[in-house]
Symmetry: C2
Subunit: 65 residues, 2 copies
């Protein structure tokens, strides 16, 4: 996704999911680095409705630097 | 720290700590944004020795964009 559009987005709810997401970014970062692509991530909070309940998720925007 | 040196670093071990760290970045990001400062984070893996045991930590480098 980063290679094609230069951007990706991941949303996670809960510590386990957020941890997995940030690890995925670290892994992607290392192999994209080999191709000369440098990515950074921009974390923010986002409210999402799940089963009519409001939850706060972490939104990770991944962008080329 | 970001205001003074333009850079900060956080290391975390475990899902809970990493989740806290990324939430801290999201919070810092929102108030620095009000001052016109845009920060991004660069996650990577790092091996650290704790009690002579090797552990893999997540290293979050926080930089001004």
């Amino acid at each position: 996704m980063i290679r094609e559009s230069g951007m990706a987005e991941v949303q996670s709810i809960g510590a386990g999911a957020t941890n997995q997401a940030i690890k995925a970014v670290a892994i992607a970062r290392s192999y994209l680095h080999e191709e000369g692509i440098d990515i950074v991530c921009v974390p923010s909070f986002i409210d999402v409705a799940i089963d009519e309940e409001e939850r706060t998720a972490i939104r990770l925007l991944i962008e080329r630097r």
